[in-house]
Symmetry: C2
Subunit: 87 residues, 2 copies
Protein backbone atom coordinates (compact mmCIF):
# COMPACT_ATOMS: atom_id res chain seq x y z
CA UNK A 1 0.00 0.00 0.00
CA UNK A 2 1.19 3.52 -0.77
CA UNK A 3 0.66 6.22 1.84
CA UNK A 4 1.13 9.93 2.39
CA UNK A 5 1.56 10.89 6.03
CA UNK A 6 1.41 14.40 7.46
CA UNK A 7 1.78 15.35 11.09
CA UNK A 8 1.32 18.49 13.12
CA UNK A 9 2.79 18.03 16.59
CA UNK A 10 4.06 20.32 19.33
CA UNK A 11 7.60 21.61 18.87
CA UNK A 12 8.96 19.38 21.65
CA UNK A 13 7.76 16.26 19.83
CA UNK A 14 8.80 17.17 16.28
CA UNK A 15 12.24 15.55 16.51
CA UNK A 16 10.89 12.25 17.77
CA UNK A 17 8.14 12.13 15.15
CA UNK A 18 10.56 12.95 12.36
CA UNK A 19 12.96 10.23 13.46
CA UNK A 20 10.14 7.68 13.76
CA UNK A 21 8.55 8.42 10.39
CA UNK A 22 11.88 8.33 8.57
CA UNK A 23 12.31 4.75 9.72
CA UNK A 24 9.26 3.76 7.67
CA UNK A 25 8.79 6.34 4.92
CA UNK A 26 10.49 8.86 2.63
CA UNK A 27 10.63 12.43 3.87
CA UNK A 28 9.37 14.80 1.17
CA UNK A 29 8.53 18.02 2.99
CA UNK A 30 8.81 19.52 6.47
CA UNK A 31 6.20 17.26 8.09
CA UNK A 32 5.20 15.19 5.06
CA UNK A 33 6.24 11.62 4.24
CA UNK A 34 5.34 9.14 1.54
CA UNK A 35 6.10 5.57 0.66
CA UNK A 36 5.12 1.97 0.24
CA UNK A 37 4.31 0.29 3.50
CA UNK A 38 2.67 -2.98 4.58
CA UNK A 39 -0.43 -3.13 6.79
CA UNK A 40 1.68 -4.58 9.59
CA UNK A 41 4.37 -1.90 9.40
CA UNK A 42 1.75 0.86 9.23
CA UNK A 43 0.06 -0.50 12.34
CA UNK A 44 3.43 -0.48 14.09
CA UNK A 45 4.14 3.09 12.95
CA UNK A 46 0.74 4.31 14.16
CA UNK A 47 1.19 2.65 17.54
CA UNK A 48 4.61 4.23 18.01
CA UNK A 49 3.35 7.63 16.82
CA UNK A 50 0.45 7.50 19.29
CA UNK A 51 2.93 7.09 22.12
CA UNK A 52 4.80 10.23 21.06
CA UNK A 53 1.75 12.38 20.32
CA UNK A 54 -0.33 14.48 22.67
CA UNK A 55 -3.76 13.34 21.47
CA UNK A 56 -5.41 16.60 22.56
CA UNK A 57 -3.20 18.93 20.56
CA UNK A 58 -1.31 16.88 17.96
CA UNK A 59 -2.58 15.50 14.70
CA UNK A 60 -1.51 12.78 12.30
CA UNK A 61 -3.25 12.25 8.97
CA UNK A 62 -2.62 9.26 6.73
CA UNK A 63 -3.86 9.06 3.14
CA UNK A 64 -3.81 5.53 1.77
CA UNK A 65 -3.90 4.46 -1.82
CA UNK A 66 -3.94 0.80 -2.82
CA UNK A 67 -1.63 1.60 -5.72
CA UNK A 68 0.87 4.43 -6.09
CA UNK A 69 -0.10 4.94 -9.75
CA UNK A 70 -3.56 6.07 -8.60
CA UNK A 71 -1.98 9.10 -7.02
CA UNK A 72 -0.16 11.73 -9.07
CA UNK A 73 2.33 13.95 -7.29
CA UNK A 74 3.29 17.45 -8.35
CA UNK A 75 5.90 19.55 -6.58
CA UNK A 76 6.21 23.33 -6.93
CA UNK A 77 9.29 25.05 -5.54
CA UNK A 78 11.80 23.28 -3.37
CA UNK A 79 12.14 19.49 -3.47
CA UNK A 80 13.51 17.66 -0.48
CA UNK A 81 15.89 14.82 -1.27
CA UNK A 82 15.77 12.37 1.54
CA UNK A 83 18.79 10.37 0.51
CA UNK A 84 19.72 9.77 4.15
CA UNK A 85 16.72 7.50 4.31
CA UNK A 86 18.61 4.83 2.43
CA UNK A 87 21.79 4.95 4.45
CA UNK B 1 -10.46 15.58 -9.32
CA UNK B 2 -9.68 15.13 -5.64
CA UNK B 3 -6.45 16.60 -4.29
CA UNK B 4 -4.40 16.80 -1.12
CA UNK B 5 -2.22 19.90 -0.92
CA UNK B 6 0.59 20.51 1.56
CA UNK B 7 2.79 23.57 1.72
CA UNK B 8 5.90 24.56 3.59
CA UNK B 9 6.53 28.28 3.23
CA UNK B 10 8.43 30.93 5.15
CA UNK B 11 6.63 32.35 8.18
CA UNK B 12 5.99 35.67 6.44
CA UNK B 13 4.06 33.95 3.66
CA UNK B 14 2.03 31.47 5.74
CA UNK B 15 -0.95 33.79 6.20
CA UNK B 16 -1.26 34.53 2.48
CA UNK B 17 -0.95 30.87 1.50
CA UNK B 18 -3.52 29.81 4.08
CA UNK B 19 -5.98 32.43 2.86
CA UNK B 20 -5.43 31.45 -0.77
CA UNK B 21 -5.78 27.69 -0.24
CA UNK B 22 -8.93 28.06 1.85
CA UNK B 23 -10.58 29.76 -1.12
CA UNK B 24 -10.26 26.50 -3.07
CA UNK B 25 -9.98 23.63 -0.59
CA UNK B 26 -10.88 22.36 2.88
CA UNK B 27 -8.33 22.97 5.61
CA UNK B 28 -7.63 19.73 7.49
CA UNK B 29 -4.31 20.34 9.27
CA UNK B 30 -1.84 23.15 9.89
CA UNK B 31 -0.56 23.32 6.29
CA UNK B 32 -2.68 20.55 4.73
CA UNK B 33 -5.75 20.94 2.55
CA UNK B 34 -7.98 18.57 0.64
CA UNK B 35 -10.91 18.75 -1.70
CA UNK B 36 -12.53 18.34 -5.06
CA UNK B 37 -11.22 20.80 -7.61
CA UNK B 38 -11.43 21.22 -11.38
CA UNK B 39 -8.35 21.32 -13.63
CA UNK B 40 -9.04 24.99 -14.33
CA UNK B 41 -9.37 25.96 -10.68
CA UNK B 42 -6.25 23.99 -9.75
CA UNK B 43 -4.27 25.77 -12.46
CA UNK B 44 -5.51 29.10 -11.06
CA UNK B 45 -4.57 28.07 -7.50
CA UNK B 46 -1.07 26.99 -8.57
CA UNK B 47 -0.49 30.24 -10.46
CA UNK B 48 -1.56 32.32 -7.45
CA UNK B 49 0.51 30.18 -5.06
CA UNK B 50 3.61 30.61 -7.24
CA UNK B 51 3.28 34.38 -6.91
CA UNK B 52 3.26 34.12 -3.11
CA UNK B 53 6.03 31.52 -2.79
CA UNK B 54 9.77 32.00 -2.68
CA UNK B 55 10.71 29.25 -5.16
CA UNK B 56 14.15 28.79 -3.58
CA UNK B 57 12.97 28.08 -0.06
CA UNK B 58 9.25 27.27 -0.19
CA UNK B 59 7.58 24.07 -1.26
CA UNK B 60 4.11 23.08 -2.39
CA UNK B 61 3.18 19.44 -3.00
CA UNK B 62 -0.07 18.36 -4.61
CA UNK B 63 -1.29 14.75 -4.64
CA UNK B 64 -4.00 14.16 -7.19
CA UNK B 65 -6.44 11.30 -7.32
CA UNK B 66 -9.00 10.97 -10.09
CA UNK B 67 -11.55 9.77 -7.58
CA UNK B 68 -11.76 10.48 -3.85
CA UNK B 69 -12.79 6.86 -3.13
CA UNK B 70 -9.35 5.71 -4.28
CA UNK B 71 -7.83 7.50 -1.32
CA UNK B 72 -8.63 6.48 2.25
CA UNK B 73 -8.03 9.01 4.99
CA UNK B 74 -7.27 8.20 8.60
CA UNK B 75 -6.84 10.82 11.31
CA UNK B 76 -5.12 10.19 14.64
CA UNK B 77 -5.38 12.80 17.37
CA UNK B 78 -6.85 16.23 16.77
CA UNK B 79 -9.22 16.82 13.86
CA UNK B 80 -9.55 20.29 12.43
CA UNK B 81 -13.07 21.34 11.56
CA UNK B 82 -12.87 23.92 8.83
CA UNK B 83 -16.44 25.08 9.12
CA UNK B 84 -15.44 28.65 8.30
CA UNK B 85 -14.77 27.42 4.80
CA UNK B 86 -18.48 27.28 4.09
CA UNK B 87 -19.36 30.74 5.41
Amino acid sequence: MYIVLVYDVGEKRVGKMLKLCRQYLNWIQNSVFEGEISEVKLKELKAKASLIMDQDTDSLIIFKSREQRWLDKEVIGLTKNDTDHFL
